[in-house]
Symmetry: T
Subunit: 69 residues, 12 copies
Amino acid sequence: MSDHVYKYIELVGSATTTIEDAIANALARAHKTVHNMEWFQVTETRGHIVGGKVAHYQAVIKVGFRLDD
Amino acid sequence: MSDHVYKYIELVGSATTTIEDAIANALARAHKTVHNMEWFQVTETRGHIVGGKVAHYQAVIKVGFRLDD
Amino acid sequence: MSDHVYKYIELVGSATTTIEDAIANALARAHKTVHNMEWFQVTETRGHIVGGKVAHYQAVIKVGFRLDD
Amino acid sequence: MSDHVYKYIELVGSATTTIEDAIANALARAHKTVHNMEWFQVTETRGHIVGGKVAHYQAVIKVGFRLDD
Amino acid sequence: MSDHVYKYIELVGSATTTIEDAIANALARAHKTVHNMEWFQVTETRGHIVGGKVAHYQAVIKVGFRLDD
Amino acid sequence: MSDHVYKYIELVGSATTTIEDAIANALARAHKTVHNMEWFQVTETRGHIVGGKVAHYQAVIKVGFRLDD
Amino acid sequence: MSDHVYKYIELVGSATTTIEDAIANALARAHKTVHNMEWFQVTETRGHIVGGKVAHYQAVIKVGFRLDD
Amino acid sequence: MSDHVYKYIELVGSATTTIEDAIANALARAHKTVHNMEWFQVTETRGHIVGGKVAHYQAVIKVGFRLDD
Amino acid sequence: MSDHVYKYIELVGSATTTIEDAIANALARAHKTVHNMEWFQVTETRGHIVGGKVAHYQAVIKVGFRLDD
Amino acid sequence: MSDHVYKYIELVGSATTTIEDAIANALARAHKTVHNMEWFQVTETRGHIVGGKVAHYQAVIKVGFRLDD
Amino acid sequence: MSDHVYKYIELVGSATTTIEDAIANALARAHKTVHNMEWFQVTETRGHIVGGKVAHYQAVIKVGFRLDD
Amino acid sequence: MSDHVYKYIELVGSATTTIEDAIANALARAHKTVHNMEWFQVTETRGHIVGGKVAHYQAVIKVGFRLDD
């Protein structure tokens, strides 16, 4: 991480199963167009409720990726 | 969500297994008396420790539910 | 918790599997030298990314433990 | 405000016109069942977008009301 | 706290004497209608001034109480 | 919002008239190049002053838009 | 803004009509004694309620003004 | 509080006895030159330690006072 | 405080009487093993409730102490 | 700091060279009219950009000064 | 800044020498592809340590740039 | 950073010259007794003032170091 420059993007992923899967879904989508993603930080965990149960989780994540030199 | 009014309640659920189950337990209990719960936000994740291991997780969640018109 | 004094330490644990395992790994390591750990609070959830997938999760936790009288 | 006890509730109101109307709609609905509301604080301002325009504003407000003695 | 579900309410108590009394007054009033209050957190300390002196303190507290199973 | 991935952008719009117009101006400009904007959150409200009056309001907003699958 | 020094003051203005008017009223009053006010930031939006309606809005603003060299 | 404009000042008071006295000392000093102080908010509570005991408490408070019309 | 290095520890003290005593109890315990404690900051004030009354207060404090050169 | 009362002012200084110089410039200007300034805290670091380079840094600082007894 | 719309990007720059150079490196890289950058705000200052010394500083900055009309 | 556990300590370093030197002084002192320090985050920048000038800077930093397996 010494002499590179990184940029953050903030994403919202969702999944019906777990918070981890919501994170994975956001990363999988971003990976199609963003290269060199190196780390993420969860900034918010939330979700929707149907019939008193979690219908899906939503993870808001900030992702740091390395800009090409 | 256009012309409704929503109210927040804040709950603490717990589970010995996962953070997701702690959320589910809070929602299941609230569902007995609160109708039209639509979304939640995790405001704190914590837990108790026994013998160096997580005895149970606690999820503090804010839940938004629709008020009857 | 009535007449004891507690101290906080802040740890970072990691795991390739789940956020819960990252918490468990931090507690397991601390348990080798710290006695009477009673509760934890997650202050940050993050991780590293390799090839568009989560390589490992990192959980930053504050742990409260009871000081001997 | 000297010797009373107050309670907060947190509400989300919406309106297609202005932030002020979103606040008013939340208060009007709460007024049907809550007496003695005395002040509010806006904790979040947000809204939904359709076709690049604000479809409706949402005001999240905390409302303080006096409990009967 | 293992398998229960808790709910938060947020209250404002006041007292002319001390911050501790302001907390006590809020709890005393809530105790009339809320059972199983177990802990509180002070979220704000404030007050009114008359003639350059504190006329009364106000403590804003969040109170956690156990929901019946 | 179930199985989509969303991205946030943060914008600053301004208007001489109202805070609502400052939001609208930011959205109108973004709409030229960003599709599927679905919601916004106001993160800061500010403005410039000339002659003791508001010359223009500035609304800082985070906008969530759906990424194409 | 290059080589000047600025000072902040924090004000509370109110108005029965809109948030914008509450800001304007605070600025109009400050303008009587403070010169060179250049920008403001809204730090809190709140108000009082009478009969289930907003009696007046209150805008808490920080105002930056240039100190004479 | 309807049509007045208020200004905040932020003060640090101290006392060897209690937090309440630290607040009172700050207000007493400010009262010599500031009129119409109406409310305060505690923004920080701290103090100095000598020999393992509190030598004095420090209360940082924001004080709102009414500007003359 | 010019050329020294300080370290923070975070403690939780409790007392049945006052917030000030909860702070004092934390400091008294820490004083047994930590030298040169110089200042503290209260980061959280909370407590437990029994029968609608405060059973004991808890003060979470960060304490700065000077490291030996 | 035992029995004095302190007041905070918040300033914005700027400099083309370093953050430290931006702090120094704010203090130098305030020193012309404010006596007994004792400490500062940086609350924001920012700046303006021209041609992809920092044109000047801006340091927002809160300054504590002792009020005359 | 009157009738333009601005967008924020968040970057991480690093440098072995100073915090100012870490900011400059982030801006220099962004300047290759982003036009009309006008201001920045430092949101985090951090760095890596090797052998008890700072190996490099990292400045996380939000940069505001003007969107073409 | 994959399978290690890290601990945070929080330090205050000071220097008469620059913020960078204040960080360096804290690290140099900690390095005498703490091994494997890997990164730091600045949580507060402050200082003392004498005669309208910065007498010394103080950097509050959180330092992450790797615990032995």
